[in-house]
Amino acid sequence: MSDQPLLTVDNISKTFGGVAALSMVSLEVNRGDIVGIIGPNGSGKTTLVNSISGFVKPDRGKVIFNGHDITGWDPHKIADKGLTRTFQVMRPYYSLPAFKNLIIPLFSPRAKRTGGWRGGGKMGSRDTVALDILEEIGFERDSYVPYKMASSLPTGYLKRLELARCLALRPELIICDEVFSGLSMSEMASMLPLIEKLQMEGISLIMVEHRLRELFRLSNRVIVLNFGCKIAEGVSSEVMELKEVKEAYFGSEEEVLEYV
C-alpha cells in the first residue's frame, strides 16, 4: 500500500464538442507530495482538475485514488473518499457567516466518520470545530472575522475559506485550483507557510498555478500542460529549462526572464 502512489491518473482524455481539452494525460501523486500543474491559459489545467475530482467525466482513461478506481464517479463520492478541491472562481456560501460555511462540509458523511479536521472520531459541537479549522487556517479566532458574512470577506480570506472547506473533510489529497491568484504579496506570504504546514500534516496537494515563483518554492515536481497534452514533467527548476516548455509556455526568452 505504502509504495503505491496515492493518486494515479492514467491516460485520460476529454473532448468538448470536437475540441480536445485533454489528450492522454497521465500523472502520479505520492503521499506527502506537492505536485504543481502549470501551463498557459486554455491548456486544459482546469479540465484535468475537473476530470480528477469528478465534475467532468473523462471520455477515456482511468483515475485511481487510494486503490479505488474513481473514474466517472460523482464528485460527492470522490470527496467522500478523501479527495477534495478548491475552485478557481471562489464559491463560498455568500449568505452565511464564514464559520457557518464550514458547517456544510462538517455535516457530510465523511466528516461525521472522521470527526472533521483532527477530530478523534467523535466530533464536538460543529460550530467549535468550524472555528478551530478557521483558526488553523489563519482567521483570527477572537476577532469578528469568522462571524462576518462570507460576502463581505476580502479575497485573501475567501481563498482560505475555500481551503478550510476542504480541510473540514479531513482529506488525504487536496487539489488547489489557483489559490494564489488574485492575492496580494503579503497575503501570499502568509499563505505559503500554511501550505507547507498542510504538507507536514501528511496531506498531499496538487496545485494548479500561474504564480510560478511561489509554486516552485513549494512543489518538488511540476507537470506542464499545453493544448491538453502533457509536454513535460520533472523537478521544478529543471522543467523550466526545457526548450519546449519555454516555447509553449512563454513564447520568447525575455518573458521567462521577467517571470522567474
Binding site: S53, G54, F55, D74, P75, H76, K77, A79, D80, T84, R85, F87, R91, P92, Y93, Y94, S95, L96, K100, I103, I104, P105, L106, F107, S108, P109, R110, A111, R126, R165, C166, A168, L169
Partner: protein, 340 residues
C-alpha cells in the same frame, strides 16, 4: 423628488430594542420579551381564534379551510424556492396526488378518514418525490418548466386512460364529522409547518439546503450528495401539499381532475410573492389576503384570475420584497432623512 435626492438621503437604523433583543439579553425585560413575542403571538392566536370569530358566517368558515390549504402549498413553494433553490411551479401536482391517494384508500379499501390523511401525506409525498427524481439535476428555469408540466400531464393521463374515475373523478369520499375538526386540523398543520420549517432552516440540515441553493458545486465537493438533499426537500414540500390535497378531498367528498388545476399552482406563488418570499410566514399572510379577495370576486368568474394575475405582476415588478419583509422592516427599523 429628484431634486430632493441630491442633498439628502434616507437612512435606516435598527431600533435599539431590536438590536438588544436579538441576543440572549432578550429575556432581560418584559418589554423586550413582548417586543419579540407580540407579532408571533398575534399570528398564532389570530389563526387559532379565526374559526370561533367566523362562527356567525359559515360560508367564510369554509373559506378559512381553503385558505389553510393554499397556505400549506404556499409555504412549501416558499421553502423549496428560497431555501432549497428549486422553483416548483407544480403545486397542483402535490394536491392532486394527495387527493387521489386519500380518495382511493377511502373508497376502495374503506379505510377511515383519520388513517387516510396521514397515509396519503406520506405515500403521496413519496410518489411526488419519485416522480421528480429524474428532474432533480435540473436547475432554475428548467426545473420550473418541468414542474409546471407535471400537473398538466397527470390530468391528461388520467383523462386519456380513463383511470380513477376519468373525468368524473372519485365521488362519495367520506367527509369530516365536524367542521371544527377539519378547521383545527388544518390550522394546526399550518402553524406546525411554519414552526417546523423555521426551526429547520437554522439547523445544520437547513444550512446544507441553503448551500445547495447558493452553490451546489461546493456542496458536491464537500462530499455531500446533493440529489439526496434535493429529494428530501421535495419530500418535505410535497408532504405539505399532499396533506392539503388529502384534506381537500375529504372536505369536498370528491377527488377529481380539477385538483390538478392551475389554481393550485398559481395562487400559492402569487401569495408568496405578495406576502414576501423567504419568510415562510409571508406566504400565509399572502393567502389570507388573496384567497378571500378571490372568493369575493367569485361572481365575476374568470375575472378573478385576471385580477390576481395583475396584482401578482404589480408586486413582482414594483414591490418584490413582499408585505412581510416590508412590515418587519418597518417594525424593526426606523427611517429618517439625513442631509448630505
Amino acid at each position: 423628488m429628484a431634486v430632493d435626492q441630491k442633498d439628502r438621503r434616507k437612512e435606516r437604523i435598527d431600533r435599539g430594542i431590536k438590536v438588544r433583543s436579538d441576543g440572549v439579553y432578550a429575556i432581560s425585560s418584559w418589554l423586550e420579551i413582548s417586543y419579540l413575542v407580540a407579532p408571533r403571538l398575534l399570528f398564532i392566536v389570530g389563526l387559532l381564534a379565526a374559526p370561533i370569530l367566523l362562527l356567525p358566517v359559515p360560508y367564510w368558515q369554509k373559506v378559512l379551510s381553503i385558505i389553510c390549504i393554499y397556505s400549506l402549498l404556499a409555504i412549501s413553494f416558499d421553502f423549496l424556492a428560497n431555501y432549497v433553490g428549486l422553483v416548483s411551479l407544480g403545486g397542483g401536482f402535490y394536491i392532486g396526488v394527495g387527493a387521489y391517494v386519500a380518495a382511493l384508500l377511502n373508497m376502495k379499501f374503506n379505510i377511515p378518514i383519520f388513517v387516510t390523511i396521514p397515509v396519503a401525506t406520506v405515500v403521496g409525498a413519496a410518489i411526488c418525490t419519485v416522480v421528480f427524481l429524474p428532474c432533480l439535476p435540473l436547475r432554475g428555469v428548467y426545473f420550473a418548466i418541468v414542474s409546471l408540466m407535471f400537473p398538466l400531464l397527470a390530468a391528461r393521463v388520467i383523462e386519456a386512460l380513463d383511470i380513477f374515475g376519468g373525468t368524473d373523478g372519485i365521488v362519495g369520499v367520506d367527509g369530516f364529522s365536524s367542521t371544527w375538526i377539519e378547521q383545527y386540523l388544518l390550522i394546526i398543520a399550518v402553524l406546525a409547518a411554519v414552526f417546523f420549517l423555521r426551526r429547520m432552516i437554522t439547523e445544520d440540515v437547513g444550512l446544507v439546503f441553503s448551500g445547495v441553493k447558493d452553490n451546489d458545486q461546493a456542496v458536491k465537493a464537500s462530499g455531500i450528495n446533493i440529489t439526496k438533499y434535493k429529494a428530501l426537500g421535495i419530500f418535505i414540500a410535497s408532504s405539505l401539499g399532499c396533506f392539503g390535497g388529502a384534506v381537500l378531498s375529504h372536505i369536498y367528498m370528491w377527488a377529481g381532475l380539477s385538483q390538478f388545476a392551475l389554481d393550485f399552482s398559481i395562487i400559492p406563488i402569487a401569495a408568496t410573492v405578495i406576502g414576501g418570499g423567504g419568510t415562510l410566514i409571508g406566504p400565509v399572510i399572502g393567502c389570507l389576503i388573496l384567497v378571500p379577495v378571490s372568493e369575493l370576486l367569485r361572481d365575476f368568474g374568470t375575472l378573478r384570475i385576471a385580477v390576481y394575475a395583475i396584482v401578482l405582476t404589480l408586486f413582482i415588478v414594483y414591490k418584490s420584497e413582499g408585505i412581510m419583509v416590508y412590515a418587519s422592516r418597518k417594525y424593526e427599523q426606523f427611517e429618517r432623512w439625513v442631509s448630505i
